[in-house]
């Protein structure tokens, strides 16, 4: 049973974007008879926090992020924009018991203006996303998070874009460090996954919301352009090098005569038959 919980936990944490409930159903079928889901709670929590799962605030249509950076205690998380804290059911991915919770930080002004700039940037480039800015590390730094999901299960694809940045707050310059992850899953008559991780490390000369977000926006743009180029490089490089579309002769194989071919003689010559 211990090993089953460990193995099933890895399945939960490995669920692709938008397919957690499908993976849960499969895990339940494979472990029939045992009510394994309660034992998998830590795995659900790790999945939600690392995948930046979004939940609807009770009584609101707003989707807010669940992460290690806005955890208050237990299953309670905090959203600075609406100044609300809420209880998360990690298995169901829902929020409840919302409470007013004012933002308490020395950097309240910076966080508020970061949220405003980040919101403008998000609306310009993500048609469906959630974001947050949180005080971290004893209020000495802020975390800037953004997650964009697109699910199209009827067309057998789902995708997720995550950006996680940390910025130490100081009086002069600072460095934004973090990671961008892009995960795409396509599963019509197959299973194809794109998984990327791009480390980010940019210095910002002044600790102002506008300069931090504009540097982040530029880094995200540069990365997307680089990723688009990588698709072309892979298609033209590794993919072409694996299997030709047609033989060098541009002729299909003459299967009736193929026994008569002698490797290394007729073939390399191409026309020497």
């Amino acid at each position: 049973m211990d090993s089953t919980i460990e193995l099933a936990s890895a399945f939960i944490e490995g669920a692709p974007p938008g397919e957690l409930s499908d993976v849960v159903a499969d895990v339940q079928a494979l472990t029939e008879g045992d009510d394994i889901i309660p034992s998998l709670l830590p795995a659900f929590e790790r999945y939600n926090e690392s995948q930046l799962t979004t939940v609807k605030l009770p009584g609101s249509s707003q989707e807010v992020i669940v992460s290690e950076f806005n955890k208050v205690e237990g299953n309670r998380y905090f959203d600075p924009e609406s100044q609300t804290s809420f209880e998360v059911d990690h298995t169901a991915q829902t929020a409840s018991a919302a409470q007013s919770s004012p933002l308490e930080s020395q950097n309240t002004d910076l966080i508020k203006s970061l949220l405003k700039s980040l919101g403008n940037h998000a609306r310009e480039h993500y048609s469906n996303c959630s974001y947050g800015v949180y005080p971290i590390e004893d209020d000495s730094a802020v975390a800037i998070l953004l997650v964009a999901n697109r699910y199209s299960p009827n067309n057998f694809w789902n995708g997720r874009f995550r950006a996680i940045y940390q910025v130490p707050v100081s009086s002069s310059s600072t460095t934004v460090t973090g990671k961008i992850h892009v995960d795409v899953h396509y599963y019509e008559d197959g299973n194809v996954a794109l998984n990327t991780t791009k480390p980010i490390n940019i210095s910002v000369s002044s600790v102002s919301a506008e300069s931090i977000i504009s540097r982040i926006a530029a880094a995200e743009r540069d990365y997307q352009e680089e990723l688009n180029r990588a698709f072309v490089t892979m298609a033209e490089g590794a993919f072409k090098g694996l299997r030709r579309q047609l033989p060098i002769t541009r002729q299909k194989v003459e299967w009736e005569k193929v026994g008569g071919y002698r490797l290394g003689q007729d073939i390399s010559g191409g026309k020497g038959r």
Partner: protein, 266 residues
Amino acid sequence: MADAQFDSALDLLRRLNPRDTKKNLQAITTIVPDLTEDLLSSVDQPLEIRRCKQTNRDYLLCDYNRDGDSYRSPWSNEFDPQLEDGTVPSERVRKLEVAANEAFDVYRELYYEGGVGSVYFWDLDDGFAGVILLKKGVAPGAQSSGEWDSIHVFEATDRARMCHYKLTSTVILHLASESQALGEMDLSGNMTRQVEVDMPVESDASHVANVGRLVEDMELKMRNLLQEVYFGKAKDVVGELRSLGSLSETNRDRATQLEMIKSMQK
């Protein structure tokens, strides 16, 4: 419930990262040991290479040339580790197998310009069946790599002067790239397609040509499909997640366009 569990196992493997199929398969069969045999024979994994001791040529390992812990070389027809009474094809089908290995060796050189291939045939009550395996890896740059595995399983059922072929083909394609500017990028997966067709048969030699054509057409189709999904679809989804251009400008342009269409319809 065993059938339902089998379906759930396949569904799970279709969802979890295709890079980890081997590990996940092991995990599933640890949880439900009864599924082991069925899953091993229906889930395709990247092929392993072994060198034939008799001929010094490389061949590929799969469930179809396995007997116990031994694998049969298509070049020598011998098992490694040696088996006294390992299952081998009948004399007629082995002859076909030898001819098919020769033919697909030419095919491999023409399309793959390298790599390893193996063909295994076995007898059926009303015909025969076989698997054509092709594998190639490349590393075009220090930080980029690719691996292609083709697995074509067919059944040939004899009919009067005709033969009915049923072909199931899977291609496993792993691509990875890494650089300072790009970070890490992994584009991996597998796709499966099936085809059934009747083709005329004059002699046993026709079988090799028929199967050859079927596999050649299928691989061309699948290569195009992989190209579309890996470099078209995946890139499009990234564009759906994040728009390079400004969304407010795109929306403004769209609104202007709609206005123009409306005014032209008046």
